[in-house]
Structure formats: structure tokens, C-alpha cells
Amino acid sequence: MASPGRVVLEVRDLHAYLYTRWGVVRAVDGVSFALREGETLGLVGESGCGKTMTALSVLRLMPEPAGRIVQGQVLLEGEDLVTKSESEMRRVRGRRISMILQDPQTSLNPVFTVGSQIVEALRMRYADGVDALRRLAEEALRRVKVAAPAERLRAFPHQMSGGMKQRVVGAIAVAGEPRVLIADEPTTALDVTIQLQYLVLLKEIQARTRLAMLFITHDFGIVARMCDRVAVMYAGRIVETGPTRALFRAPRHPYTAALMASVPRMEASVERLPSIEGQPPLLHHMPVGCRFAPRCSYVDDRCRREYPPVVPIGPAHEASCWRVEPSPPSR
């Protein structure tokens, strides 16, 4: 685990809703977390729990016109991004916070060369001439380990493999030397053999630049490899946060425990993988109390009535559940 640096990004009680014709979808409903320099925070949860919406609302790029931040603060090195104008946000994107999207096949514009797309990102940061920017772009490709970078600059995205494209997307993301990098399931669309290489590459970039990384995934294997801390998200809220090791050893929220129990293990053979019964709540029709209550095996009346408070459990470990006692883990 990297030595804890200063906090670069702090999200406080963020609420971001989608106003659709079927009702208000509370995609992000009171999310708080802090991200330190050189640290990787994993954001895990099922599809549709609000992970990507959290990332997009940090960058103020929620789908328009439906998405809106209704409450909360996003503090980047102390400045609140929620109150910034669109033109101020443009100077934040790419230069201070970047994001790697999930699918490399569609992330690059098919009609422009890879070089011009990297140069475009560099131009936002550096006021150099075209030749200098192209040299920088070549350097950027070399740093993400693309072979023959000078030739690759002239290539079009369709002439590259998925893994290569995702490297280019990575190069674009770090081109502006941001302080925070959000990686939204960056390896989900890649071949398993390429996934590890890409994760190692991200780690190397982080070691060099002391980037703070928010790593969105639903793969616990990747979390174990990549993340210093984990935040588990369920139905628009973070239900448990903790250091990766502590959370893996002793998950305290029933949802975290159930989620981890459903991960297949190499050493034990089972007839059937345990799964979590039921469906996540509809985000525009949220239960009053704990959102996990309808699927939780330990549920009682209080869970259905009231949302549980955040309970500190151990060092940097906390969970939102009525059942957890505010004490350090016993084991």
C-alpha cells in the first residue's frame, strides 16, 4: 500500500439524479468518499448501482438533459466542482481529472487518426506547435508501451487491436498530467490475457505520477490486485468502505459478504455458487429504510423503517448497517 498522501478529491454527500419520463432515478444518492494522492480506491457493485454515474457526475458529464447534481460537493484540491461553470469545468477535464472509458472499441473516433486524437488532448494542456505536440504524442504512446509509436500515430483506430486501443485511450487520459484518474471498468472489454498487462501498466503510470485513481469494477480479483481501499456501492449509496485487506478478510455489511460469497473460488468446488436472492430495488422506486433490506437475510423492522447510519468499525473501515457494532474487527 502506498504511503498515504494528501487528499486530492473529496466527494461529500453527492446526490445526482436522472429526470426521466418514468420518474426521478436517484442514481447517486448520498455518496461520500475521499481519494488521496498515489492511492487507488476501488468502487465495486452490481451493474446499475450508480458506479459510472458517480464518476460522470464528478466530471459533470452526466447524460443531458436528464442528469443533474441536486446536492453535495465534489472537492478537487479544495475547490468545489459542483459550482463551477461549464467553461471552468473544461479546464478541469483532462488536465486535472481524466477518465478511461469501458469499451476501447467505441472510445476512439473512427474518422480521425490516433495521432490527431492524442494531439488534441495534449493541445488542451500545452501551447506548443504541432510538431512539438506530435513528438509529445509519440512519447505518450511509448509510455503506454505501444510498439512503433511513430507509425501508430498515423494509424486509424480500426487498424488497432482492442488492447492497443485501450492503451491509446490510457495515453489520452494521462496526456494532460491529471491528478485524478477515473478508470471505469477499463479491462472488462479486453481479452483475459491482455487484462493483466493493462492493469500493470496503470500501476506503473500511477507509481510514476502519484496519480489518485478511482477504479470502478465488479471484479474482486482486480480489486485485490489494484486497490488500496474499496468502497462497495449498492443502489446509489456506498454501504461499506475499508482497506482492501480488512474488507476482504472480514466484510461487515451483509451485502459485501453476500457479494464476496458469490465469487467462484479455485480451491473449493461447489454444486452451485451462492447468489443474492431477489433483484436490486428500482432506482426510481427506492425503499424507505435500508435499500438492501428486501434481499438481506438478517433484516428486521428497524432496517425497513430507517436508513442505517455510517458506523466506524476499524481503521478507515466503516459500514452502513444496523447490525454492525462500532468496534474494531475481532479477528
Binding site: 473544461r90 479546464r91 478541469v92 481524466s98 472509458l101 469501458q102 469499451d103 476512439l108
Partner: protein
Amino acid sequence: MQRYILRRLLQGALLLFIVALVVFALARVSGNPIDLLVREDATAEDRAHLQKALGLDRPMHEQLYIFLTGAVRGDLGQSIRYRRSAAEVFFERLPNTLKLLPLAMAGALAIAIPLGVLAAVYRGTLVDRLAGGLAVLGIATPQFWLGIVLIYVFSIQLGVLPSARMGGPSHYVLPAVTLGVFLLAGMMRLVRSSLLEVMGSEFVKLARLKGLSQTIVIWKHCLRNALIPVVTLFGVYFALLVTGAIVTETVFAWPGVGRLTYEAVIFRDYPLLQAVILLKAVIVLSVNLVVDILYAYLDPRVRYA
């Protein structure tokens, strides 16, 4: 790329041959030109004489052979009505149509692209709905009706624009508008819908993640992609107009190839009709080739396939 073009040219030649066969057959089932050419009181002898002079008394396959071998050499026969080379008559008229078309198309594009972009960016607002309404009106309005209404308003009532024939710049306004309105409507809708589709792409999100302004994202990243289907439609429309400005040119007595087609049909001028249709087919094929090359320029995925 060269191989691609060569392949397209060969396909074109084959297609032309088929068109020639169809044209030849169609002209002969549509009526007898002798009836129109001779006076009503002509004797059977006169009619036979004329038939022989035109070569229409020979067996079909011989007529076809003469037509095809002539066509390969560039000789499409003599126009019965004009008593001159049919191809010559066609090429005399072609510039008149070609002078009108670019005006109509450029005008339509110049309005369709910005309007389509506006409608897409401000989708669901009043701007979008007004543009959509205009488009429906433009597509639904028949050209002959629009032409006549324009003549009535601007030539007869207001007396500001000439109603027919070629002349100074003012003569171009009404026919170009009549042709352009139809184009404008279709293109505007296509620009809007294809832009909307592109705006939802991941690469647009990435472009915004780089910190690019909305203007650059729309006009550079989105529009370039959105224009690919528009170019295809443009090619189709261009071909359609070269061959099909018949209505507009007839309404405005414009001496172009559209009106020539009309005349050739009315007077059963076989050689002229054959020449007109065959030469138009050549034009359509050439335009399509140009469009495909342009397409390859816009979309690198086609270029290297």
C-alpha cells in the same frame, strides 16, 4: 484503391449494357413514331417509305445490333425530330441542367447542415419542432405544385422574378428553389438523426473528457461522422435530379435534359429517348463512383478495406 475503381468501372459497363437492352425494348413497346411523324392524310406508301428510311422495317435483332454497335462507337443515332445526332442534342442541353443543379444542391446543403445540427443540439425544443415541420412540408410538397405557386406569387402577383426560360441570374431563382426545397427537407432530417446517433457515442464522451468545447465536439467530432450517410444521400439525390428534374424543367420551360426527356417521350423520338436514357445512366454511374470515392475519403474504414 485503383483496383477498387477498376472493379467499379467494369461493373458500370455491364450495367450500361443492361440499361441499353431495357431502353431499346421499352422504346419499341411504347407506340409507333410513324403515327406522329407523318401527316394525317399520308398514304400507306408514304408511311412505308418513312419506315424504311428510319430503319424501322428491319427485324428487331438487326435494329438492336445497329443500336449497340453504334453506341459503343459513341454514335447514338439521329434524332428524328431534330434531324441531328441525338447525343449532340443531349450534350447541348446538359449544361443548362448542370447550371441549375449545383445552385439547388449548394443552397439546400448550406441550409440543411446548420439547421439539422441545430435541431439535433436543441432536440425537443421549439427550434427542433419548427425544423421538423418544415421538413415534412418540404418532402410532402409536389414539385409541380410548388413551381406553379412560386410562379403565381413571384412572377404574376409580385412581378419580381421571371417565370420561365433561361436568362440572367434572376431566371435561376425559382427553379433552383423548387428543386432545392425537396432536397433540403430530406437532408435536414438525415443530418439531424445521424448527428443524434453520433452524439450518443462513447468517443463523443471521450472528446468531452479531454476538455474540448461543445462547439468543437459537435462540429468536428460528431459532424464528420454524421455526414457519412448524408454524402450517400447527396449522391442519390444528385443522380435523381440530373435524371429527374423533368417536372421542374417542364414547369419553368427550362431547356435542360429533363425537358428534353419529356420532349423525346411526347414525340416518340426513339433515338433521342434511347440516347437520353443511356447518357443519363452514364452520368448516374459516374456520380455514384465519385460518391464512393468521397465516402472512402470521409470514412477511413472504407479506405483500407
